[in-house]
Symmetry: C2
Subunit: 297 residues, 2 copies
DNA sequence: TGGGTTGATAGATATATTCTATCGTTAGGG
DNA sequence: CCCTAACGATAGAATATATCTATCAACCCA
């Protein structure tokens, strides 16, 4: 029964019987039979299908909702019982927005000291993708913006405030300044994240409200790529302060506070709002709370 | 998997492999094998057993907790999908304290008009038993005292206030009074519920605080029995006002308000605090809210 | 019309489940 | 101290379920 519910969860993710089957480690006929059996038990069609997957029926959507809960609880139960015997073990799947990647280590490092048997898988994703992954139980926690794009059932723990810096070389225009304004930044040719990233949308908004227009010379979905360009001394970018510090500044590379306005966004840990949480997840939230207070100081 | 979880829920109720098996509609070896399989999957003993059932291990208790949730959610899912097609159907299992039995009809009658395909099973139980039954998912809702003996995860809806009357014949001592005091009631030989009933404990407390002592001439766990005795004209009892009205008063049978103090207890509907509720249960709560407001008026 | 893709179906095989029958242990009574 | 009844575990057979491979039918797109 529970494995059948798992089938339709995979189907919801993949929207494709074959791929869903693969994701579940079974063959396509097995998955088809499982879905059909669920439909017979419920006495109602769950999936609209012509010659291919089309969509879930309204009843199917409701079953999906329950399935997420039931399958999640089953995993949580296994996790909890296992952790009673062996301490925390298993794999913690985290997704973070690119601009927060550098500070994930501040969370994972103390966690690992406390619970050495937990392994990590960390994905770089957009804030929207992170919420989808959480919804589909594909990750255990996300690190993303807390303020915007609120979503269904999640618990949030604030971690730190993202503040913006103009990253540029000292000999470039504005390179010698103590602060710059968003209006000035708007005049500089920038390397920025692609527009599907919320960080980019935030920066665009700030530039626009300062009367400028965002016309980056270079876009990428990789912060490393952006940074390596700035590093050459011939490009500039806007980055969160913490990230710039982590990547490393030199004499010639400066991170200049941007003012008017001195914008900030709250970044935090987001976990599925299920009670009780999986022990590994609960421990991560604990760690986040500790980290949050130490960063406040 | 889910049926195995059902096995241990039955085992927790029955504390006996054979009876638990019977309750699940399987044979004893099947249930034994199911429990053992769960234990293997979890990698830990769940049940302490010598030559007979002893207890659950700490891990077993945790699994029980999860099992209640998972099995309950599975039922809720089936219920919900079914009700999407056929309207509300199925059986609603309710347990009520004896003194509230008479007013259950005020809840079930309008419910049945709205949802004619729902069947009812109604048990008369003590308030403590009701909470246990709720915990074990053996009933869908309880009607009991809201104020005392609070318990874990339940949602309450107040229904009405229970006020006390001396039920006695007009020609008996006190029979001609408009009100009597608890101190006076303490002097009358009474027919009361057995001490495992909370109603009895409440009355005992009231008599005691009026300086009297509760020494009922007759005890029973059945309100009908108590009432039929009073009806003979040679006995007296203390009953909630609503119950006395329902059972019917005559010229010679009077229900006299008891004052000093004019005590009252809140009676309400109690359902498992699970989100979302089963549709049949949710509808019952709706009905309770409606009834509550109409009784307030 | 034809190749490629998708999901359903058939039949064979493997796995799991559940039953009946029986055994070993233990608690309690005489 | 032994006998008995009750309880839960185990063995083995019958059955049911699940899963696989192979293939088919419908559909899409060129």
């Amino acid at each position: 029964m529970i494995d059948k519910l798992d089938f339709i969860l995979a189907l919801a993710r993949e929207k494709h019987f074959g791929r869903a089957a693969e994701a579940c480690g079974v063959t396509q006929p097995t998955l088809s039979a499982g879905v059909k059996q669920l439909e017979e038990q419920m006495g109602v069609l769950l999936v609209n299908r012509g010659s291919r997957f089309q969509s879930f029926t309204p009843e199917g959507e409701r079953v999906l909702d329950w399935a997420r809960r039931i399958v999640g609880d089953t995993r949580s139960m296994r996790e909890e019982i296992n952790s009673l015997r062996h301490g925390l073990t298993g794999r913690l799947r985290i997704a973070a927005i690119p601009t927060a990647l550098a500070m994930v280590a501040a969370l994972t490092t103390p966690y690992r000291q406390r619970h050495p048997n937990v392994q990590f898988t960390i994905y770089s994703r957009t804030s929207i993708e992170i919420l989808e992954l959480l919804d589909n139980l594909e990750i255990d926690a996300g690190i993303t913006y807390l303020e915007n794009e609120p979503v269904g059932r999640v618990n949030s723990t604030p971690l730190y405030h993202e503040r913006y810096r103009l990253l540029t070389s000292a000999d470039a225009p504005l390179g010698n300044r103590e602060t710059v304004t968003w209006a000035e930044v708007a005049q500089v040719p920038l390397c920025l994240l692609t527009p599907d990233m919320q960080n980019r949308r935030i920066i665009d908004r700030l530039i626009k409200s300062a009367g400028g227009e965002s016309r980056p010379t270079l876009e990428s979905d990789s912060m490393i790529l952006l940074f390596s360009h700035v590093r050459t001394g011939r490009w500039a970018s806007v980055m969160p302060a913490k990230l710039a510090e982590t990547l490393g500044l030199t004499d010639t590379l400066r991170a200049i506070p941007i003012v008017e306005p001195e914008a900030s966004q709250t970044i935090g840990l987001v976990v599925p709002a299920r009670e009780p949480m999986m022990p590994v997840t609960a421990a991560l939230v604990e760690e986040a709370k500790r980290l949050s207070t130490s960063l406040d100081a």
